[in-house]
Symmetry: C2
Subunit: 204 residues, 2 copies
Amino acid sequence: MARNADASRARIRASAATEFAARGFDGATVDRIALKARANKAMIYYHFKSKAGLYNAILHDTFAAMADAVRAVRESGGAPEAQLAAYVEAIARVGAERPHFPAIWLREVAEGGRHVDVTVAGHFREVLTLLGHILAEGVAAGTMRPAHPFLVQMGVVGPLTLFMASRPLRARFAHLPHGPDVSIDAVVRHVQTMVLGGVARQTT
Amino acid sequence: MARNADASRARIRASAATEFAARGFDGATVDRIALKARANKAMIYYHFKSKAGLYNAILHDTFAAMADAVRAVRESGGAPEAQLAAYVEAIARVGAERPHFPAIWLREVAEGGRHVDVTVAGHFREVLTLLGHILAEGVAAGTMRPAHPFLVQMGVVGPLTLFMASRPLRARFAHLPHGPDVSIDAVVRHVQTMVLGGVARQTT
DNA sequence: GTCTATATCGGGATAGAC
DNA sequence: GTCTATCCCGATATAGAC
């Protein structure tokens, strides 16, 4: 039945995401992925062709969702500042809905984007372009200073990704004074404030 | 001779840093590290005990340097805002002097700090505490609003680390419009502006 | 589509000579 | 301190039955 096959595929994907996040592409083993998915190892090769194919499926899904979310932000319009705040929130939501993705992405960056193919690159490029439009509107309105979209993107994705990916690490050090007991909402608000402050035209 | 042994150790460390950054702990192979270091594989085990021991030596060195740098920032004093800007610059410099470290650290975070031992944790904790003191001075002076040190730290380390670690990735997409052709100095300035904007007491 | 069994190989680690 | 040769396990991938 196609039903069972779909469920099987979905379980494998979820299991793989956890494993790739925790151990990285090289550290992950197909045996463990199969075990956690309550599937057979041979099924993974049947459905996804290879370990790399499985990994790519996850990247594709997430970047498509990210491009969709940012496009929606642009389409609902509003003041550039509001759009930028919504942009931050959209990126955060895509990450929060895929708890394993931030760690996967950190590793992917560290690897020089070894597994980033044209599809993923296209989505990433679209996101950067849309962000560029938001910033350009702000400059045109006289409320923002010119800033490189990629720079702003670092300011958004850097803190959000690092925070979300560091959940296991934070859990280990939660007992410390000044321990990292912060909520995701607090992080999003802080990033919004930072990012807006980073592009605002100085009034002093 | 101890001289040769020291040189050998140093070459192994440098080679390992490159390899760990590019491939991760699991992806790195001791054979390749030895090859690039023009050393013998058995030497690595002789000097560093194990692959993990070699990796830890790199973490220790970098975090000790980071704690030193931040302590120096505190000792030179000045207004809280100036100290915070210097803090950003200090973190950036420690990273820039060890080009492979940012990628290593991104991976380490993604792994839940699997290799973070008490020594590294102690340095990290000291850095957070010192940052907390800077922020507290700002609050006392009435120019900063209370902010969680860990949150601020994410705002600093997130963009800086992601930017520095993404050098290989950026090189691959440098040809795109809005391509990521940004200098490290521009990034540091942008992060300083963002971070200060994130903790400044609102004057409106 | 799902399983078991297995081919095959790469890589961490060490023994032991010099 | 430095080298060669090797043990040995674990991991990707596939063959082939059902």
